[in-house]
């Protein structure tokens, strides 16, 4: 009996000690709050060959954020800083894609150039943006926040230049598919992009030593050099990856609204992406990272946003409520609080051990 109890508490400790424990708890709390507020939150209905429901909406809307958060995780881990230009890079990517598809027209109803070419070009340009950031950070040792501030401010301007200051509309059904639904498939397409990215990156981490390299460089780039790692190149690569993923997110976002809106695509999304990384239990100062943590963080943020909308909070008040929740979560994850938490747990354990002993004595 006692033995069983000990075993149980051991499992409990292992679960609560897991690095994904807190991120999952946060997500669960946000979801729970939803169920209380909106009982039909988890209800998923099926009509016209498409799934409907709050949950589907959250998962769908979070797709771009998930993709961004993965890139941000790498950048954060390797360079101990964040890429704040990803939102702007999304706009650049969308602009390139739409401009090539439209062939310079403002609004089209048929592709002027092959879609594959447009997407490839958009992703290439995004990678170049990432490479530019990477060059500044890895090669010239500029602080990531400062280095990426350049594209953060200039990116949307560049996007405007590409689309010549207009919002380019691609009114082609085929283009809309990537932001909505593929006929015959009840699940929104962006979810596939997000899931595909997560799986692909997981495979890369499994079949290469990239994860260990990134962590090593992030923890101690000087020691990394001594053990034969090219710290500069690894940091550079993470920025290129981040740029590429921002480009992909930009494409999905642009497909949702079948246009390139340089002013609004990915607006403020870089901050959400950074937050997702932090919520995932990752240190913003770099080093060890958890990709799944960031992904869960991204869904948490989107769930929160959707919740607040569902509670009829207007979009201009949204940031205030978001800030409150974020403060709560970040404080709970702070080292001081974690220590308190650990102490409390140790105390509880002692108490139960003492009471057990007493029980045995009597």
């Amino acid at each position: 009996m006692n033995n069983k109890g000990a075993k149980g508490s051991d499992t409990l400790r292992r679960i609560t000690g897991h690095h994904l424990f807190l991120p999952i708890v946060f997500l669960a709390v946000v979801l729970l709050a939803n169920v209380i507020k909106t009982p039909d939150f988890f209800e998923v209905s099926y009509s016209n060959g498409i799934l409907y429901g709050y949950v589907v909406d959250v998962v769908n809307r979070a797709s771009e954020l998930v993709i961004l958060a993965i890139g941000m995780t790498f950048v954060t881990a390797a360079s101990g800083g964040q890429d704040i230009s990803v939102g702007a890079v999304m706009a650049v990517s969308a602009a390139v894609c739409c401009q090539i598809l439209s062939g310079g027209e403002v609004s089209i109803t048929a592709f002027q150039n092959p879609l594959l070419l447009a997407v490839a070009a958009a992703l290439l340009v995004s990678m170049l943006c990432g490479a530019f950031n990477g060059l500044l950070v890895a090669r010239l040792n500029i602080q990531p926040m400062v280095a990426t501030l350049i594209l953060f401010t200039a990116g949307r301007g560049i996007a405007q230049l590409i689309t010549r200051g207009q919002i380019t509309y691609i009114r082609v059904e085929e283009y809309k598919l990537y932001g909505s639904y593929i006929p015959g498939c009840p699940i929104p397409t962006p979810i596939f992009f997000a899931a595909g990215t997560v799986i692909l990156v997981m495979l890369v981490l499994k079949f290469t030593a990239l994860g260990l390299y990134v962590e090593s460089v992030g923890i101690n780039s000087s020691a990394a050099r001594i053990v034969g790692l090219n710290a500069t190149r690894i940091k550079f690569i993470t920025y290129v990856i981040c740029g590429l993923l921002a480009g992909l997110a930009g494409f999905v976002a642009s497909s949702r609204i079948y246009s390139a809106d340089a002013n609004n695509i990915g607006l403020n999304l870089e901050m959400d992406a950074i937050l997702a990384v932090a919520l995932g239990g990752n240190l913003l100062s770099g080093g060890k990272f958890s990709l799944m943590g960031s992904v869960i963080g991204a869904y948490t943020i989107q769930a929160l946003t959707t919740t607040l909308y569902a509670m009829m909070i207007s979009s201009d008040q949204l940031p205030v409520y978001k800030a409150i929740v974020v403060i709560l979560i970040v404080v709970l994850q702070s080292p001081v609080f974690q220590q308190k938490f650990r102490d409390l747990r140790a105390k509880l354990r002692q108490n139960t051990a003492a009471s057990r002993k007493e029980g045995a004595a009597s």
């Binding site: 030593a209 990239l210 962590e215 923890i219 101690n220 000087s222 020691a223 990394a224 053990v227």
Partner: protein
């Protein structure tokens, strides 16, 4: 009792969960004495200091100042107020402030609520002059050498009228000249009646400057001795708690002199140099020998091996390995050619603090294999377990993060990391610095074993004795230049000193 006692600690006991860090320890410090606190890592030196300075609360015991009533010291601030100052190895000052600002930070002289800069500079000047520290008060602290920074930290303590000055490993990052300067300062303070507690790993320094020695072992007091009455060997025996013949054993191992010279050289450098770091040098290393690199700190001994390894990119010269010319510009190239390099600064260049022992062990082999050939989980675990066992690394497990290990065990992990890559040429730059004597001896023995198996080892240490015990040949460096090579009968402390000093005495005052 003597009346010039400034500090008595009696029956100090400090418990940590599961460990008795200190058990019934007594310590007495007299006015105007330099008192060494000795012991291996984990003996309880730091804990005792932390209890004294109020960082830890003791569980039992009492601390009396000036022979008075037991005093409660609850915080470092309170310790300071009562005249106990500490200067740590890592200097706790602000490098981007001036010397004067650092001296008076938190207690700046004020005039009408504003800082009185004139007064501050004047008082700083006076203070530094009195202690004969040659530095301008207006200079930025970061521009001063580590030794000067340390002296400024001491000056600050002195100006705060400390009666007890604790110097925790102050000499680890100083070269011989700077150490001598520090000692002069310590002697001057001693004359002024300050009681100094000196924590160090260097035996020579203890004998050079200390009046008394208190030895701790496993949290218990071994005893208090007058330096003059305690021979070195006995001190070592007391610290280790056993009659220690391992040191002698090492010597005998080395005496089975192998004639490695008959073999072809493993490594040949011709005119290799690195601008501003090391001047052109020639070097031959043979399989199965330990070559020592000696010279003062900053003489270019580390720079030389870094150039060999490609950690500093060579600007010219040729390098041959096993008779074949090779080009080594980066550490990875060196690793591919069977070289390994344990860097001087363990914290900065060695460990990945947040990674586990396992990851720290396999990282070098992993980079050697390349990013597309990740090692399997089981493979990594086997390697980690093998070296944890082989080097007797004390760790809770292979997944423990390396930062929670003691310095000596961290060093062993890094040695394991390099042994795992199966090197032919192993560079060890200060592998024993800041490590307790037991581990030191283990590392020395390991070096000899490895060389016996045919490995060629380049060894750098600040302790000449240690090198004499292990090296069969020594390269002497001075001013970034190789100035001599000593073998066989020439391997003696005097001869080395002589070569380091450059024969003549023109360099000295």
């Amino acid at each position: 009792m003597e009346e010039n006692i400034v500090l008595t600690m009696r029956g100090i006991t400090k418990l940590f969960p599961g460990v008795k860090a200190l058990q019934n320890v007594d310590f007495t410090l007299r006015k105007g004495e330099i008192h060494a606190l000795m012991g291996e890592n984990g003996a309880g030196k730091s804990t005792l200091i932390k209890v004294l300075t109020g960082v830890y609360a003791m569980d039992r015991g009492e601390v009396c100042l000036d022979g008075g009533e037991p005093a409660m010291i609850r915080s470092p601030q309170e310790a300071l107020r009562r005249g106990i100052s500490t200067v740590y190895q890592e200097i706790n000052l602000c490098p981007n402030l001036t010397v004067a600002e650092n001296l008076f930070i938190d207690r700046e002289p004020r005039k009408r609520g504003l800082i009185d800069w004139k007064e501050m500079y004047r008082r700083s000047g006076e203070l530094l002059e009195r202690l004969e520290v040659a530095v301008e008060p207006t200079r930025q602290l970061g521009d001063c050498s580590i030794a000067i920074q340390q002296m400024i930290a001491i000056a600050r303590a002195v100006d705060m009228r400390c009666k007890v000055l604790i110097l925790d490993e102050p000499t680890s990052s100083l070269d011989d000249d700077e150490v001598e300067k520090l000692f002069e300062l310590m002697r001057r303070l001693k004359e002024q009646g300050v009681g100094i507690i000196f924590v160090t790993h260097f035996l020579e320094q203890v004998y050079a400057v200390c009046d008394r020695i208190t030895v701790l072992r496993n949290g218990e007091l071994v005893g208090e001795f007058l330096t003059a009455e305690l021979p070195r060997l006995q001190l070592v025996a007391k610290m280790l708690g056993k009659d220690f013949d391992d040191l002698a054993q090492i010597k005998s191992m080395k005496e089975t002199e192998r004639d490695s010279r008959q073999q072809a050289p493993l490594l040949e450098a011709q005119g290799l140099y690195c601008q501003g770091r090391v001047k052109p040098f020639n070097l031959c290393c043979y399989p199965g020998e330990v070559v020592g690199f000696t010279g003062l700190l900053g003489s270019g001994r580390s720079e030389l091996v870094r150039t060999l390894y490609g950690a500093d990119r060579p600007d010219g010269g040729t390098l041959k390995l096993r008779g074949k010319p090779v080009k080594i510009d980066t550490p990875l190239q060196a690793m591919m050619h069977g070289m390994a390099y344990l860097p001087e600064d363990r914290k900065r260049d060695g460990i990945f603090a947040d990674l586990s022992v396992r990851e720290n062990i396999i990282i070098a082999l992993q980079t050697k294999k390349g990013i597309f050939h990740p090692m399997g989980r089981r493979e990594m675990e086997n390697f980690a377990d093998k070296y944890i066992g082989l080097l007797q690394i004390k760790t809770a497990g292979r997944e423990t993060s390396i930062k929670s290990l003691s310095g000596g065990n961290q060093q062993k992990v890094i040695i394991g990391r390099w042994l795992l890559t199966n090197p032919e040429f192993l560079i060890l730059d200060e592998p024993t610095r800041g490590i307790d004597i037991g581990t030191k001896t283990e590392i020395q023995k390991l070096m000899l074993q490895l060389s016996e198996q045919g490995m060629s080892i380049a060894f750098i240490s600040s302790e000449i004795e240690e090198m004499l015990r292990t090296c069969s040949r020594m390269i002497v460096m001075r001013d970034h230049e190789k100035v001599g090579e000593l073998t066989g009968g020439d391997l003696s402390q005097e001869k080395i000193m002589h070569t380091i000093a450059g024969g003549g005495s023109d360099n000295e005052q």
